[in-house]
């Protein structure tokens, strides 16, 4: 409890590529400019920060099949992303994220406490077993009980 650098919170958010349609004001007879893309695409952003004020670079989950490094253009160099193949469960992506991304920035001989909210269904028994291997303890928040800024 007196080791804030070992307590991490973790949450994801969906970033929608297009805004929802609203009313557009335009001259009569003009075509209203309100563009939304045809395909609904949501990119998920996972963030992780510790009680000591340290954060891991953003991690993106893109929809699609073929990964291109261009997707991360303009972001911090150390940010990363993945394109889960269909059939991957949420917990697989989550484990992948922790192993290949978070653990790059957090290395400690002490066990790590990772907090996250449970409604994303990435919780299962495999995760707990997997965490034991990497010296990670998971704590799942009850639904929608995350404090600011993770609400």
């Amino acid at each position: 409890m007196d080791r804030p650098h070992l307590i991490w919170n973790n949450d994801g958010t969906g970033l929608m590529m297009e805004h929802s349609l609203t009313k557009v004001l335009s001259a009569k007879g003009e075509k209203a400019n309100c563009v939304t893309s045809a395909r609904r695409q949501t990119v998920t952003l996972i963030g992780c920060g510790s009680a000591a004020g340290v954060r891991v670079p953003p991690f993106y989950i893109f929809p699609g099949k073929r990964w291109k490094d261009d997707l991360l253009d303009g972001s911090t160099l150390c940010s990363a992303g993945t394109m889960p193949e269909s059939g991957w469960s949420k917990s697989t992506v989550f484990m992948d994220y922790l192993e290949k991304h978070v653990l790059l920035y957090v290395s400690t001989p002490h066990p790590l406490l990772v907090l996250f909210d449970g409604h994303k269904s990435h919780v299962n028994l495999t995760l707990a077993d997997w965490g034991r291997k990497y010296n990670i303890i998971f704590f799942v928040f009850p639904l929608h009980m995350l404090p600011y800024p993770w609400t």
Binding site: N33, R55, P58
Partner: protein, 51 residues
């Protein structure tokens, strides 16, 4: 976005746009006070009260 009305966003823009916001939101300041407010670190068991 305000400067480029009508421009469509695609997957290649997301990371560039969200990156700055991410680091702003996840400022050390914010992280520490959030953990404090929740009573997680420093630990404060008076934060959880019965309904």
């Amino acid at each position: 976005m305000r400067l480029n009305p009508g421009v469509q966003l695609n997957g290649y823009d997301v990371s560039a746009i969200s990156n700055r916001t991410y680091y702003k939101g996840f400022a050390p300041d914010n992280l520490i006070s959030a953990f404090r407010k929740a009573g997680i670190s420093p630990f404060d068991n008076t934060k959880i009260t019965p309904l």
